[in-house]
Symmetry: C2
Subunit: 250 residues, 2 copies
DNA sequence: ATTTACATTTCGGGG
DNA sequence: CCCCGAAGTGTAAAT
């Protein structure tokens, strides 16, 4: 519907089988949010996207992220008042509410979208961990993994293993350049494990890079760093998959 | 345009004055992303939103966040191939690329959106800090702030002050329930400042809540917690604004 | 340009 | 359901 009357839009939205269709609404609106925080947005042209799962988002014509939104599972209330279409979205759990007041509507589309396609993401931190387990030599020749996600106070050690000399080694994996936070995280684990075992412990950050300030801190704390790129890990995973596929077929 | 031919859609997008209009494109598509990570998305019905600032996002009919996106400043390339409309978005800086292949188009809208309305967000962590400075008693009777965002190795102390007895006190402010990470952050600051000054230091987390596990850790480390809600801070700020407005007018 | 920390972060996994 | 941490995090402010 192009330039529908407010009443037409109201009716079309009301009829929408609850939560089963996706709605696009473009027009002039103002927005008020009240919940964990609160916000107000003065009138302007925006795009409102309401999804099948009850999530909704208000987009300005700039910025990647929505200016206001409500997570999946929200409940909608519609009404016409003062020549405006008012949409209220409640989030039952978090007692949050969003009120969008449309004074003009340029476009309304109610869409039945079918989307069951799978989404695959590669080069994640989890893939990096898997690649190191599959081919420990990319971290260091002679490294032998013992455990992944080993619980320690406080948190979890990404990879715990033994180096070529048999020294217990804590590996902290990051998919992007590691900063001071990562260094301190690693230090906590090393200290905690040293306390626990009473033995010498090595600590290594495995990441595609290490921030300048973090380098000094790392050195000062007697920890180490090894360049590991997510892309290379992804390739190791892919080659392993292919290898296993070939073995399966032959 | 409803159910436009691929060629019509291609032409309409080509003509769009570069980056000056917002585009909504709904239809069946698949997506490939290559950059910091990589991803593939199998065919399905989605909403593509291209904004005036060159940002774009692909939305599935569920989930709040887009399944694929490109930040503001991206460059678009369009072509028709194999009965599909192919949209490539390059990010010149991060050498990232997104390729969206539309096989069917249900809706195409090219929109000239005018949006200069101001956006105001309240109850942020910054407002919480301001409220404590304005009315230190909400933290503790007799508390006197000395500095905000005081640099320390490593990081910044949210609020540094003196308690009623004159003891140096580090305050770590969180706008939502604080977890272990916040406790450890506070402990680093307290330890660092104790080392720096050689004096006794108190450490207080000011937040609307404290996670279960973090409570034990807090107690074990000799730190403290004070309930401070962002909403209450917002009210203090608002009342102060009103007061100053009144003073200004009288 | 780089670093730093917040965010109505969102999202997913594990206990 | 709570808790915890990753994310193609994005974003803005400070250095």
């Amino acid at each position: 519907m192009e330039n529908p009357h407010l009443e037409e839009a109201h009716e079309a939205l009301r009829v929408r089988r609850s939560r089963e269709e996706t709605v696009l609404l473009v027009g002039e609106c103002s927005v008020k949010y009240e919940g964990r925080a609160s916000s107000t947005l003065e009138p302007g042209d925006r795009v409102l996207l309401i999804k099948q799962d009850g999530s909704l988002q208000v987009h300005r014509p700039f910025d990647l992220s929505p200016v206001n939104w409500q997570p999946p599972g929200s409940i909608l209330r519609l009404r016409i008042q003062d020549r405006s279409l008012i949409i209220r979205a409640y989030n039952p759990r978090g007692r949050e509410s969003l009120e969008i007041v449309f004074s003009k509507i340029a476009l309304l589309a109610v869409l039945d979208l079918r989307d069951s396609g799978s989404f695959f993401l590669h080069a994640s931190e989890e893939e990096m961990r898997s690649a190191i387990l599959l081919q420990p030599s990319i971290l260091e020749e002679g490294f032998k993994p013992l455990a992944v996600e080993r619980p320690i106070e406080p948190g979890f050690i990404d990879i715990l293993g033994l180096d070529g000399r048999g020294t217990l080694t804590v590996v902290e994996v990051k998919r992007r350049e590691a900063g001071k936070e990562a260094v301190l995280q690693l230090k906590r684990y090393v200290d905690s494990l040293r306390m626990e075992t009473g033995k010498e412990i090595r600590g290594i950050i495995a990441a595609p890079g290490l921030a300048r300030g973090a380098q000094r801190m790392l050195a000062a704390l007697g920890l180490e760093f090894k360049v590991i790129s997510p892309q290379r890990c992804e390739e190791i995973i892919r080659r392993d998959k292919e290898r296993r596929m070939t073995e399966f077929l032959t």
